[in-house]
């Protein structure tokens, strides 16, 4: 009876459904710039979710996920510009490419810990734009100028949707699919493997988890997710260039995860909204102080979010205790002599 509360987050499902419903509703309400902006928020949320999976579930911090975002973006850009795949079909393929490369990068990288892993991934995000510019790949990547693609248009001659709305709709659909898949993974044995190796690698080994392999898989799945976001971004904007995927993108994703917390799905949405709107708002407040304000708000968030999370966790625990326990039990149970009998 108590089992359900812990694992199947009934409230989470409701929230997810509500979010998807709301998003779909918005598809029909907005168009033009706001449809575009909303789609970028969804894409950012997905990218943050991807990194969150790595950090929250498997405990590895990556400063290089901007590179996977870029890789996904370029993969889909190349598929589209070479006319190998239609825009939205390029998304899963790009994700797959990122997943495989992420896994391969992860295999050796999982030997590293803490600052060493941070540097290795940081290196990835530094090297990535340079590789894109390299003459070897220039035919495909378009070199420094990048690729400009045809914008997506509504298919099947549908007239009651704007192009922007169609793009938003497809973005939401893909994002929902990826979110659901990740959710299933995290709730199943895969999630158990990740959580265990994050919290205690030795103990994880002792319960039969192949730590190296699952760390690398976490890297791969995370890269695939971020890559999917990148691919969606290409489809949405119709443009990729090396300079869009700088270190700052990687750091922004990291900040996103700091805001969202290690596991909260809703948090990824909040983080995306922050990352997407905060710079605009700051710019409105003061152009000179944009950077200082943005940084200050980030600092503030770091101090506020944990307090919020703690409060949430506590109320969640309380809720569980209320629904789970037949009678209120003092939480720390001491083995008093009476109880032992």
């Amino acid at each position: 009876m108590t089992a359900l509360v812990d694992r199947v987050p009934g409230r989470g499902t409701t929230v997810a459904l509500a979010a998807i419903g709301l998003a779909l509703l918005l598809v029909f309400l907005v168009h033009g710039y706001w449809a575009f902006k909303l789609a970028t928020v969804v894409i950012l949320a997905l990218a943050v979710r991807g990194l969150q999976l790595l950090i929250g579930s498997s405990g590895q911090i990556s400063l290089g996920h901007g590179a996977f975002f870029g890789l996904g973006a370029y993969a889909s850009g190349v598929f589209m510009s070479q006319a190998w795949l239609t825009p939205y079909l390029s998304v899963p393929v790009a994700a797959l490419v990122c997943g495989v490369l992420g896994f391969l990068f992860g295999l050796p990288a999982v030997r590293l810990a803490g600052p060493y892993l941070a540097l290795a991934t940081f290196a990835l995000s530094l090297a990535f734009p340079q590789l894109l510019k390299h003459p070897l790949f220039e035919d495909w990547t378009g070199g420094v100028s990048g690729l400009s693609l045809d914008p997506v248009t509504v298919p099947f001659g549908i007239t009651w949707l704007h192009d922007d709305q169609w793009a938003l709709l497809m973005t939401i659909v893909w994002a929902a699919i990826v979110y659901t898949a990740l959710h299933r993974l995290v709730c199943g044995p895969t999630g158990l493997a990740w959580i265990s190796l994050r919290d205690h690698p030795t103990a994880a080994t002792a319960v039969g988890v192949d730590v190296r392999r699952w760390k690398a898989i976490a890297f791969g799945v995370s890269a695939a997710t971020v890559g999917a976001a990148g691919a969606l971004n290409t489809v949405l904007t119709g443009f990729v260039s090396p300079d869009s995927f700088t270190v700052f993108l990687s750091l922004s994703l990291l900040v996103g995860v700091a805001i969202s917390g290690p596991t909260s799905i809703l948090g990824t949405g909040v983080a995306a909204v922050f990352l997407s709107f905060a710079p605009d708002v700051m710019e409105k407040v003061s152009r000179e102080l944009t950077g200082v304000l943005y940084g200050a708000v980030m600092l503030a968030i770091v101090f506020v979010v944990p307090a919020l999370n703690q409060w949430r966790r506590r109320s969640a625990l309380k809720r569980r205790a209320d629904t789970a326990a037949p009678a209120p039990v003092p939480v720390p149970v001491a083995a008093t002599p009476e109880q032992a009998r």
């Binding site: 990288a109 590293l112 803490g114 941070a118 540097l119 530094l126 590789l131 030795t202 700091a258 200082v292």
Partner: protein, 290 residues
């Protein structure tokens, strides 16, 4: 041959600058087990202080002292204000603080000093140089200062109580406090010293890369890489890492791979080294028992 020597010499001097930054990172790592991404920006800001003082008419050495003092104060304040409240927060929160600091310090510098490039001349310029442009006076000075700082830092950790306290506090703050170590003071000093070393690094870098709010963004990557390559808790490792990167990068770029992928190749090599030695070249072993 001359060209080869020049490449090595130029790499050596750059390596010293990377190493100085790496040393300041090592300092912070030893004191708090964090890698401060904003270290480069903090160093930049301190260097601007020196520049402002020189502009205001102060003699170079007074300005440098002012910058170093400022670096110390800034490090200490950052620890006190931004880091201490987070002492039991997840690593991610700390990383975010560093990113935020990086942005804040950089834009504040732009706001205060403008985005142009300035020059801050080297106090060692008058030493003349060695060889035909092989080692300039500034290069000689850079090497000298690096050696001095390394020696001082190694002695500090090995022979002083404060050094021991610092290592202890980073490993186990609770036990340290129970042993009578004023952990917060030690951390603050650790950050302060790191800030001061950073300022020295900035002063050494300024005559080479010139002064601007973004002067460190290119160098810091190497400082970071040097620290990690050498082993992020080892001062000699920082120097070794810095020199390997500085010289290796120049030689690779000039004779092997061409300049476009210079950084990329350097990073790939470093990654390979790390995969074989996951704690860097001179880093301490991970101590884990069950």
């Amino acid at each position: 041959m001359m060209e080869f020597a020049q490449q090595v010499a130029a790499g050596f001097v750059n390596g010293c600058i990377y190493a100085m930054l790496a040393l300041s990172l090592v300092m912070i790592y030893r004191a708090t087990h964090h890698v401060n991404f904003a270290q480069g920006e903090m160093a930049m800001f301190s260097t601007f202080i020196a520049w402002a003082l020189v502009e205001a008419g102060a003699p170079y050495w007074a300005a440098a002292a002012g910058a170093i003092a400022f670096g110390f104060a800034m490090g200490a304040v950052v620890e006190r204000v931004a880091l201490r409240p987070l002492h039991d927060s997840p690593a991610l929160a700390v990383v975010t603080v560093f990113v935020a600091l990086m942005i804040i310090v950089q834009s504040a510098a732009g706001l205060i000093f403008g985005h142009e490039t300035y020059s801050l001349d080297s106090p060692f310029a008058s030493w003349g140089g060695v060889g035909q442009g092989l080692l300039s006076g500034h290069a000689l000075g850079t090497v000298l200062v690096t050696v001095l700082v390394l020696a001082a830092m190694s002695a500090f950790f090995r022979y002083t109580k404060l050094g021991l306290s610092m290592r202890a506090a980073a490993i186990n703050p609770v036990s340290s406090a129970l042993s009578g170590i004023n952990v917060s003071r030690v951390l603050m000093i650790g950050w302060g010293v790191a800030g001061a070393i950073g300022a020295v690094a900035g002063l050494l870098a300024a005559p080479v890369v010139f002064l601007s709010p973004h002067m460190m963004s290119g160098i810091m990557i190497y400082g970071f890489a040097a620290a990690v390559l050498g082993g992020v808790d080892s001062p000699p490792g920082a120097i070794l890492g810095g020199l390997i990167l500085g010289i290796g990068e120049n030689l690779l770029g000039a004779y092997v791979t061409g300049n476009e992928l210079k950084l990329t190749i350097a990073l790939v090599v470093m990654f390979a080294i790390l995969v074989v030695r996951p704690r860097g070249l001179l880093g301490g072993k991970a101590i884990q028992r069950v």
